[in-house]
């Protein structure tokens, strides 16, 4: 069987579902009105936006008034952290009786992990430089889990927020956010989580898991790029993000990305309808790929927590190997020539020439991190594709090990 393209980089982004695309098209061509317009044409667009908002709210157990549309995961993470930080700073300026109080007395401490997406880590750095916030970056264990006890210990009187990624984008580890949410609730600290990778793949429920703020995007769930949402629990003080014509209840002004929102809503509807079927399918493919590679290649390691059949501690679509003695970009390069899309945590693939910080936080050696290969699946992958990839990888690994100096020793000595 020949393949035109085998897409196994769904952690980066996913193919839009045909039905999602179909649902969006009328909002470019026929129903292009501005939802703020008072004519009925405009109200149709507004209804479509509200319908999508309702679907997304329902999928995470939230109220529709708690969903705010953004341009994606990066913006939602920025808004969550900076929005809370600035609300805390402003609250600190005036006390309840209206008197000014000393600056710096507000809560200014954030707790997060070393394995967050860059759109959390770099915002924490920004808040340090520009607003005097301090961040504690918690370690993770070898499987990539943060210990909830460490969170408890790190909380101080100054702690405003705990922000923990749910499903990790590189190694697929899923954190126990229910326990973490409870710890935060009991300590009176706000809890934010980024569920871009885990949404529609494992349970996300803002009530059960005590989540105060939550980041979502559409393009990881077969929706369009450039659209996402931030859930803000009713009563949580967050700074308004964009000022202008008072869209999104005055919190984020700007004419709505109607077609994007409609596509996001449709993607969520489709995903939730088939969630069990899709997860089961991906688990089957993931487990088969892991088994065949582990059985047929020597000196390979699977990164992240793994138990066959499990999808609440490891994402059902994530596979991440380290092949010793070879470099990940060249492995990905040969896969690319076989029309297989993958990714790597190798230093050589990074702009800063450092191996992946997530893999390093899990205490992988440089050799293991540089030899890493990530394959992330979706509902669209087939068993034939898995068979092909599982057959192809060992051949490439052998070829690269054949030309690798690692393990082939040279001994020099002086002639004289």
């Amino acid at each position: 069987m020949r393949f035109k393209l085998i897409y196994m980089d769904n952690g980066a982004t996913t193919k839009i579902d045909e039905n999602v695309l179909k649902s969006m098209m009328p909002y470019f061509t026929e129903k292009y009105a501005n939802p703020s317009s008072s004519h009925s044409f405009g109200q149709d667009a507004k209804d479509a936006v509200d319908k999508a908002r309702g679907r997304i709210a329902k999928a995470i157990g939230a109220d529709e008034h708690e969903i705010f549309f953004t341009s994606g995961g990066t913006e939602s993470n920025n808004w969550a952290l900076k929005g809370l930080a600035f609300a805390a700073m402003n609250a600190g300026k005036i006390d309840a009786s209206g008197k000014k109080i000393k600056s710096g007395e507000h809560k200014n401490h954030i707790i997060t992990t070393k394995i967050e997406h860059k759109s959390i880590l770099n915002v924490c750095e920004w808040l340090k430089e520009n607003a005097g916030f301090e961040t504690t970056y918690l370690d993770v264990d070898k499987d990539g889990f943060v210990n909830p006890e460490d969170i408890k210990k790190a909380i101080t009187k100054k702690t405003l927020l705990v922000s923990i990624i749910h499903g990790n984008n590189e190694v697929g580890t899923i954190q126990d956010i229910e326990t973490i949410g409870n710890i935060c609730k009991n300590a009176g600290v706000l809890f934010h989580t980024d569920v871009c990778q885990s949404f529609t793949k494992t349970l996300v429920d803002v009530q059960k898991q005590n989540i105060d703020l939550l980041t979502l995007n559409a393009h990881k769930v077969h929706g369009p790029k450039g659209i996402g949402a931030l859930f803000i629990r009713k009563g949580v003080e967050v700074m308004d993000w964009q000022q202008g014509g008072n869209h999104e209840k005055g919190m984020r002004s700007g004419t709505e990305n109607v077609h994007g929102i409609v596509g996001f809503g449709e993607a969520v509807k489709i995903a939730m309808k088939d969630v069990n079927k899709n997860v089961k399918h991906m688990i089957l493919l993931r487990d088969k790929l892991i088994k065949v590679i582990m059985d047929n290649v020597e000196n390979v390691k699977l990164n992240g927590y793994y138990k066959e059949g499990n999808s609440d501690k490891r994402l059902c679509n994530n596979v991440n190997f380290s092949f010793l003695a070879i470099e990940g970009e060249s492995l990905g390069g040969y896969l690319d020539q076989k029309f297989v899309c993958s990714s790597t945590g190798s230093a050589c693939n990074a702009r800063n020439l450092e191996p992946s910080y997530v893999l390093k936080a899990m205490e992988l050696t440089d050799e293991e991190a540089n030899g890493s290969l990530r394959l992330t699946l979706s509902k669209f992958n087939t068993e034939e594709e898995i068979d092909y990839v599982a057959k192809t990888i060992p051949k490439i690994v052998e070829k690269l090990r054949h030309i690798s100096p690692i393990g082939k020793v040279v001994n020099y000595f002086k002639k004289k």
Binding site: A325, I326, E327, G328, E329, S330, G332, G333, Y334, D336, Q337, S346, A347, C348, N349, R351, L353, P355, T365, D366, E367, N370, H402, I403, S404, P405, I406, K408, V409, V410, N411, Y412, F413, K414, K415, K416
Partner: protein, 145 residues
């Protein structure tokens, strides 16, 4: 993956000079495991002319392609000529090399220079002799950890 030129990808997919050499006259090395590239070059020398050349690499697409191009350029050249080669000479036939990959594509030259230097100093290599292997060489690629 980065955007590589057609020429680079062709070299990468079918490197002509990749592999181990039996009984080389000299071996040179460059790179470390941290940055993700380790390069080793083997040469055979007769009357100051490089008659044969091969390389092994733990490296990326750019490292494999550029070192293979280097080997083709160097074969048949005198040691003096080979020593004067610059990065530009090597990547000439490769189209554009992404700027963050310059580091990976100079490693072959540095490894070659190391091999020539060792040859001139009369340092002889013994390959695959685990028993006599000195500690330093056992740690190839583990430098800087």
């Amino acid at each position: 993956m980065l955007k590589y030129s057609k020429e680079t990808l062709k070299r990468f997919s079918e490197p002509k000079f990749a592999g181990e050499m039996k009984n080389p006259d000299s071996v040179g090395e460059e790179g470390n495991m941290k940055c993700g590239d380790v390069m080793r070059i083997y040469i055979k020398v007769k009357d100051d002319i490089i008659t044969d050349i091969k390389f092994l690499t733990y490296g990326c697409v750019a490292a494999i392609a550029s070192t293979d191009a280097l080997c083709e350029t160097v074969k048949g050249k005198t040691l003096d000529e080979a020593e004067k080669l610059t990065w530009k000479d090597v990547v000439e036939g490769l189209g554009e090399v992404p700027s963050i990959k310059v580091h990976c594509s100079v490693m072959g030259i540095d490894a070659l220079k190391d091999a020539i230097k060792k040859y001139r100093e009369g340092i002889k290599p013994v390959i695959n002799d685990e028993e006599e292997c000195c500690e330093e060489m056992k740690n190839i690629g583990k430098i800087d950890q």
